[in-house]
């Protein structure tokens, strides 16, 4: 079976984890078998799925959905064992920790191990869809480029054999999609534009889409000319809406997710966004 991969990135604070959770929930509702992975240990994905304590081993969250997080030391042990074929690493546990120190300082090794885990889950073919809550846009480049960097740096060694299939899955437009989440505001839009340009130039990922989050609905009325809360709220809304629309015009936005007024738990936010994803497909 051929799994698909959705990598969700975006500038910090745009709601990337909520959108990643929504993709997982929407796919589950379609009856797909889904794995959701938080690529940042201790990130926000778990809370949005109603399971704040994610572990390295995927754990079921209701029918058809499992979720996990990437603990780097464990990912490294699994990586060496399963992919590089170095057995019995448990017996050299301290060495694995030391190796992690190296991996966290040496360029690209850490990223290869992290994204390697995600791609391995795709390669195994036991899921219909793997959704990864990935690094923010500021760092996503070093993950997407990690396999290529390793290929350029390493002349020999077993890690070389691994990076080839990683690059293949990443760059396959039928399997891998990078979703860039943005807000309709200046800084996130500019950062998204820069990321799109970089991704298109490097040709590392199969396909790319832009999702705008917290988009206000149109006011659907004239702003009244009198004083008072009705007019004030209308004037603020209209100004913010116009501002948002102007920034949205800069990007090829595939989907707009609504601004959710008032207090919601992270799990409620993800379910609401999943509703919108479901309607749009």
């Amino acid at each position: 079976m051929s799994s698909r991969l959705v990598l969700v990135s975006g500038k910090g604070g745009v709601g990337k984890s909520a959108v990643a959770a929504a993709y997982a929930l929407a796919a589950r509702r379609r009856g797909e078998r889904v794995l959701a992975i938080d690529m940042l240990d201790g990130g926000g994905l778990g809370a949005h799925l109603g399971e704040p304590d994610l572990a390295f081993q995927p754990r079921p969250i209701g029918e058809g959905l499992e979720a996990s997080t990437i603990d780097r030391a464990e990912a490294l042990i699994e990586y060496l064992r399963v992919q590089v074929g170095i057995p019995a690493l448990a017996t050299i546990g301290p060495a694995a920790r030391a190796f992690d120190t190296l991996a966290s300082t040496a360029p690209a090794i850490r990223e290869v191990v992290t994204i390697g885990k995600v791609l391995w889950e795709v390669k195994r073919g036991v899921w219909d869809l793997v959704v990864a809550d990935a690094a923010p846009t500021g760092q996503i480049g070093s993950y997407l480029r990690a396999a290529r960097t390793v290929r350029e740096l390493v002349a020999s060694g077993r890690i070389l054999d691994q990076v080839e299939w990683m690059e293949q899955i990443l760059s396959d437009p039928d399997r891998t999609r990078l979703v860039l989440v943005t807000l309709p505001e200046e800084l996130p839009v500019v950062e998204t534009e820069e990321t799109i340009a970089w991704v298109e130039a490097e040709q590392l990922v199969g396909s790319l889409s832009v999702v705008a989050n917290r988009v206000l609905p149109p006011l659907d009325a004239e702003v009244p000319g009198r004083d008072g809360p009705v007019a004030e709220a209308a004037a603020l809304h209209q100004s913010l809406w116009e501002e948002q629309q102007q920034w949205l015009g800069h990007l090829p936005v595939e989907l707009a997710l609504p601004y959710l007024f008032g207090t919601h738990t992270p799990a409620e936010v993800a379910e609401r966004l999943a509703d919108v994803l479901e309607e749009s497909s």
């Binding site: 960097t149 060694g157 500019v190 009325a221 809360p229 009705v230």
Partner: protein, 339 residues
């Protein structure tokens, strides 16, 4: 004496704007004020009236206000050049691992920012230096960066490769002593490991300089007044709270929390008058719900941490000039004395 005001908070809450607004206000109250901004939006640079450079420039239209940008990209190169021999520095910067290894390490951006800020505090040319912080870890990184930098260049990796003592290069690759080296060789190829180790040996020459400067920076930052900027959204609130829980030893307790983009409390229970257009009534109710969420967030944080809460109204348009920046602080409620 030059006082320092450090503005922290999550990315995207308007931290850079609030920093600039506080600086304009301080300058207009008669203080010679320097504001150090990080990654300002185009419109804010325009509002500050100049093409912001790395060196402090007096604002052409505002007496007593200087502006400079904290440059993140050149930061590592500067750190390396400042703290080791020119020859080693150039070898490091030209090294194939330099960019990859340094871009990994967000603390370096904060370190460079803190170092630059400390330099301007030492210059004694200003009454107040307002410091906007890089968004990493809600600004906490800004305070912990000196220690982290010293740790990195001090050779965590090298100590692991060689043991506690730092021997000469020829002892580095004694594979019989370290099974993990044999493992690393198999996976990475031995050549890579040696090249990395050499890189870190060079980097270690910066240690004394970085550690000493780090201690000076920490002393400055401990004396600085800090404020936290947030909105009532859950993610920035978590960052703001983190600052109270994980307050680094080298920072003072925040003097205030600024809630940016606040809505009027009068909207909370406002009833649209009879006959109001349905769309407008719906609009008031949904923003009223939002205003209520904001009020709860402010109360909760204020009561739990006994800290001054500053309410900054949500502006219909982002500030586009100095007057609208000053207006942001004038319209704020609950501002304590910060300088």
């Amino acid at each position: 004496m030059t006082r320092a005001l450090v503005v922290t908070g999550a990315g995207g809450v308007g931290k850079t704007t609030i920093s600039a607004a506080l600086a304009v206000t301080a300058a207009r109250s008669g203080l010679r004020t320097l504001v150090l901004t990080v990654d300002p939006a185009q419109r804010l640079s325009t509002a500050l009236g100049i093409a912001i450079g790395n060196e402090p420039e007096p604002h052409p239209e505002e007496e007593g206000l200087w502006v400079a940008m904290l440059d993140a990209t050149a930061s590592w190169q500067e750190v390396v050049r400042r703290h080791t021999d020119p020859e080693v520095a150039e070898r490091l910067i030209g090294n194939e691992f330099f960019e990859a290894a340094t871009s990994h390490f967000p603390a370096s951006q904060s370190f460079a920012a803190a170092e630059q800020a400390a330099t301007y505090i030492d210059a004694r040319a200003w009454d107040l230096v307002v410091i906007d912080t890089p968004p990493a870890a809600g600004g906490i990184d800004f305070f912990t960066a000196p220690a982290k930098m010293a740790d990195l260049v001090g050779g965590r990796l090298l100590r692991w490769l060689t043991g506690a003592r730092l021997p000469g290069r020829r002892f580095l690759f004694d594979r019989t002593a370290k099974p993990v080296l044999r493992l690393a060789d198999q996976v990475l190829g031995s050549n890579l490991l040696e090249r990395i180790a050499e890189f870190f040996m060079d980097l270690r020459t910066t240690y004394d300089g970085v550690a000493k400067r780090g201690r000076q920076i920490e002393r400055h930052m401990k004396r600085a007044t800090t404020v936290v900027v947030t909105t009532s959204d859950p993610a920035p609130m978590r960052e703001a709270v983190r600052f109270f829980h994980a307050l680094p030893e080298v920072a003072s307790r925040p003097a205030a929390v600024f809630f940016n983009r606040s809505l009027p409390e009068s909207w909370i229970d406002a009833k649209p008058p009879r006959g109001t257009d349905a769309a407008l009534a719906t609009n008031l109710i949904r923003w009223g719900v939002e205003a209520q969420k904001q009020r709860s967030a402010r109360r909760e944080l204020g009561e739990r941490y006994r800290v001054a809460i500053v309410t900054v109204p949500w502006q219909r348009r982002p500030p586009t000039d100095l007057d609208s920046l000053a207006e942001l602080i004038e319209s704020a409620d609950g501002l304590p004395r910060l300088w």
